[in-house]
Subunit: 396 residues, 2 copies
Amino acid sequence: MKKTKSIKNVLFLIAGLLFITAVQAQEIQRNRGPQVVSPEIAKDKSVTFRIHSADAKSVSVNGSWMGMGESLEMTKGDEGVWSAKTGVLEPSMYHYNFILDGVSVLDPTNPQAMRDGRRYASTLIIPGEGSEFVEVNDVPHGSLTKVWYDSPTLDLNRRMYVYTPPGYADSKEKYPVLYLLHGGGGDEDAWTSLGRANYILDNLIAAGKAKPMIVVMTNGNPDQTVAISDQKMKPAADAPAAGGPMTMGAMDFPNSIVKDVIPYIEKHYRVLTNKENRALAGLSMGALQTQLTGMNNPELFNYLGVFSIGLQMEFGDTTTDLIKAYDTNLDVLKRNGFKLFYIGVGKEDFVYEGVTLLRKKLDEHDFDYIYNETGGGHTWANWRTYLSDYAPRLFK
Amino acid sequence: MKKTKSIKNVLFLIAGLLFITAVQAQEIQRNRGPQVVSPEIAKDKSVTFRIHSADAKSVSVNGSWMGMGESLEMTKGDEGVWSAKTGVLEPSMYHYNFILDGVSVLDPTNPQAMRDGRRYASTLIIPGEGSEFVEVNDVPHGSLTKVWYDSPTLDLNRRMYVYTPPGYADSKEKYPVLYLLHGGGGDEDAWTSLGRANYILDNLIAAGKAKPMIVVMTNGNPDQTVAISDQKMKPAADAPAAGGPMTMGAMDFPNSIVKDVIPYIEKHYRVLTNKENRALAGLSMGALQTQLTGMNNPELFNYLGVFSIGLQMEFGDTTTDLIKAYDTNLDVLKRNGFKLFYIGVGKEDFVYEGVTLLRKKLDEHDFDYIYNETGGGHTWANWRTYLSDYAPRLFK
């Protein structure tokens, strides 16, 4: 016993040594200056950001808690360490970048970051009520799987995420399914990396607020096999024209949900396969896909969640057509026993007018819905909130 | 039909519009300069890096294809765009950072990046023979799951990755299992994000080189529930002392593999549960854990892979004890029908001497092993190579 202990202690040292040796090379190259701590969250929930650069001409921080176009200048102190302190921040999940001589960069000392489309941002969770629901708390956690599935409709083998709730692997039970769609510029990674959907569900289920359910998060860009982070790089001559992610044709995707995704899930997972146990929700472009899929397939879903989009008149004929689908199928949905139409939108969102028109359309048909109007705009903070409000209302 | 087409075309436009609107705000803030393309891989496999900063005093690029301490200066051209062109690079997977006024930053226009411990680096795959085996090729892909499991040995509920091969979900077959351990400073993300283990296995299996197998990738830091990227941030006063990842106690982990991980996998997956169908491998710290686990449990594994570590004399008593375990159990392994001891090391690796001692120890016992000596040092390029050489030799 004593012997074991002493071996262990020596081994502790070894582990440390090994680590030091292995990364020393990097450290020497990258870290020539003083050690800095950033972000430093104070007890009062203000945050100090720091970065070391003896040579930078200007450094500022741009964060998701700020208004459009705002940033916080950092000032240069001893030994070339730049710093800035925020006011008190509300408990929430935020992302931010430093702007270093005009370049948007990660906080070099923060190990938490995420990809937003083609860019990376550092992340920051101010603990407290308002962020607990997105944290990795000490509760049972579901599994999150990257699954490749055949999509005959899009003629691709492609990737999606499947969240199975805690207990799935140990039970023989069948579960209801929420299909959850990302917005323009996003991909299959978005709802878990930016949206924290898996942790939100873990927390809701642990608190008894949501029923255990499977959540399926697809890639809504129908020409992508996989998120851009995992795509093959091509020599420049073969590369597609530079530009944003490929969202063209995004509206082919509703067909694929119906013909490819749902059948795959219902074949490979222990799920309940009727409309009482199917929900669909999406944000922005995904909320347009949600409306199209839901209205054109009134036999498939009893629950629709439309986050941050509505009947946008700027879309012309399409909106006219979508309105026709509403006029035709809202009554079908009612007769079918449809359960919940959920709308979430921020007061400052650029789609606000379209959402107002959508509500009018529903009112016209005397069609019940839940309307969650929050502050803010077209933001992940809102989408996380809508998911955490929507999921508890499902399958009850 | 015509109608559908025309709706589709309008919807194409909408998807584009939506995307533009949604990200415009970010673009305006972050992208005040000219559009740059970076990295640009030329047909001859040289690479041009570019970054826009009107104000930077100096910019260079530091990449994993360079020798220790080297970097490539970038020069400022028109409109504040800095650039540098490499020589011809061998097809491989690389990572790199720009050093912008002394700060290590991502390439802002490269959507591919990874976390290495507490830091992020941009990634770059030069296509060709030598990188095909790590690419996302058009082959069947296995599933990759983040699973939380109870570890009574470590008194934690914690996360690991499980790769199930293509076809697993559609078969009733039982599969062999490779347990794959990361090194110091790493965590459960490492073998898939830096190591591309899932894509390596996809490619080997598709080529008929490796048998379909399950690969289990744990977190070998026994005080972590989850990688640092997903840990709760704490207000500064509650935070642990600043420093590297917590590898202290890393050697408690072998017990947990045996008592917690293997039983969990054998309960929840369709796997073959004998030593003929269990393999273990690890790199650096994980290779020390591999040796300890394998030598102290000679009934468990028929295959051991020891990447980039050996009998390091600088570890004193521990190495003495490990040598005793070899002296005792190598003969037991032989009698048990042990199949493969695999050693990989780079000529320039700082552990090279220890690996030579390990080989001597095996020779002393007339114990067969496969020895793969490559160029380079303690690098992921080598570990990806060793995995791709080791996996095809398993379970045959």
